[in-house]
Amino acid sequence: MTEAMIETSGLTRHFTVRTETVEAVKGLDLRVDTGELVALLGPNGAGKSTTLRMLTTLLAPTSGTARVAGFDVRTQQREVRGHIGYIGQGNGAGHSQRGRDELVSQGRAYGMTASAARARADELVESLDLSAVADRVVSKLSGGQRRRLDIAMGLIHAPALLFLDEPSTGLDPQNRANLQEHIQRLRADHGTTIVLTTHYLDEADSLAERVIVIDHGSIIADNTPARLKAEHAGDRITLTFDNATQAARVIGHHALGIAEGAQVSQSGAQVVLEVPGGAQIAPKLLRALDDALLEVASVEVTRPTLDDVFLTLTGRSLREDVSLKEKKA
């Protein structure tokens, strides 16, 4: 059996806003094994960051327990801190400092000798492509460069467990791709256990092997992206007809029997079938409809996304939440 890197039981955090008590995280039971790459996915305010802040000792739990890297976040804070790396939403490196100086200070903070810290800083500067800017004042760096420096800061002591809070927020697509590559390399080369929060669906999907969907402070789903999609959202076959009358004739027609167990719905001239294995079913379905002289104008098969999973689970689209947030920002 693999070792538990994170184990929480009934982890809860309340906030008091004016006189109201807000339950940001409600009785979280979570286990992350050594070497896992886990994404906490959820809309803004779902409790992802609060969970992360409790696991990294930045926030005391209201109740419940959490053991991180073998230590209790409440009673063994320094031990927890010494064994984890943390890349927050802001910039780890001070803006008035030089990047390389900050890397060395960070190493010293973890008890590395000055020479070990310098050597490790050089290594990370090299591997994160920061050689040209490491000796500049941090405030002069671009957003992407600063983020790479943040990653270097989090990795200085080669932690076995790394937390990243919304690592790719504010990055352009190229820098996001770069970041994901680094995270995957870290995992492959060093077996680092990685826990990250994100509200980007594609990021959770492509990066993590395990996605934990959080909403209103509770875990509502926890599985691999593929399993989540298979369990909570089928493939989608969209058939378009010439008009709504024709589409209506299809509903309840025995030709649809091919797509056994499909959820069928009509909207205007379109009929949508949600069913597992949609790509295999679609050609047979078209033949059956053709035989029944029901002429299909066009067909589209779409694979489900994690957003469909979220929609099925909560009745809300995560995409709407995100776009709302980005508009506000």
Binding site: T56, T57, L58, R78, R81, G82, H83, I84, Y86, G88, Q89, G90, N91, G92, A93, G94, H95, S96, Q97, R98, D101, E102, S105, Q106, G107, R108, A109, Y110, G111, M112, A116, R120, M153, H157, A158, P159, A160, H190, T192
Partner: protein, 251 residues
């Protein structure tokens, strides 16, 4: 390789790590020390000539040295405030650095600009006739260093308390700065003032520090006033580090 790099550190090593991190931007850009001195230098240039008597500099310069320390050190919390906004403070909170070290390292750094500013003030006033008792001044600087650490810690505490509300930090700092300064008799002697003013001055720890510095810079060492100055500085330092550590633990 995962944990081989990490080693346990002591409080002294932690404090040193924080201290040298804070000091580095100052060393990289020594002129930054002068920026917080601009106002004291103006007082020296434009106010000191108004004081009566030939030996007015002997009375005024030690006060300006304390003023310079007061201005620079009381503002230092704004650096922490900025780091709380950008995220580097959070990263230090997640590191195993001990909480008292996070305050002590920062506060101890305040001694360095204070020393540099004092040397500068003495150097620019000497051509105008200011004379200095080196032994006394050295003791004076020890007292001022202790005071500085306390004041710096208080400024950082204020920064931690003003989290996300920058206006509060500046509001409190600016509101306290001038009453403290005037009530310490830094600009004009309190002795001739009304009784209520003298009473208020007695509750200002800065009064004792300024009085002690005046005697020490002029060569009087064995004096109750000097002891009182030292005591005031120690009280400010103890209070500052106590509330600062508490605030850092809660941060």
């Amino acid at each position: 390789m995962t944990t081989a790099l990490v080693a346990k550190t002591g409080i002294v090593a932690d404090t040193l790590t924080v201290f040298s991190r804070e000091l580095r931007p100052v060393l990289r850009n020594p002129f930054s020390v002068i920026f917080t001195m601009v106002q004291p230098l103006f007082f020296l240039a434009l106010f000191a000539p108004l004081l009566p008597g030939d030996s007015s500099l002997q009375w005024f310069v030690p006060g300006i040295v304390v003023m310079s320390c007061l201005f620079g050190t009381s503002m230092t919390g704004s650096n922490l405030l900025y780091e709380m906004q950008t995220g580097s403070h959070e990263r230090m909170l997640v590191s195993p650095l001990r909480r008292p070290a996070l305050i002590m390292g920062r506060a101890l750094k305040e001694i360095v600009p204070m020393l540099a500013q004092t040397v500068l003030l003495v150097l620019v006033t000497m051509p105008f006739g200011f004379t200095l008792n080196v032994g006394g001044a050295a003791i004076g600087l020890v007292i001022l260093a202790i005071f500085c650490v306390g004041l710096g810690a208080l400024s950082y505490t204020l920064a931690l308390a003003s989290k996300d509300q920058e206006w509060m930090f500046w509001g409190v700092q600016q509101t306290l700065l001038f009453p403290l300064l005037l009530l310490a008799g830094m600009m004009l002697p309190i002795d001739n003032g009304p009784q209520w003013l003298q009473t208020m001055a007695k509750f200002n720890p800065l009064t004792y520090v300024v009085d002690a510095e005046r005697l020490l810079f002029n060569g009087t060492i064995a004096s109750g006033t000097v002891l009182a100055g030292l005591a005031a500085a120690v009280v400010v330092a103890a209070l500052g580090l106590f509330v600062g550590t508490r605030a850092m633990r809660k941060a």
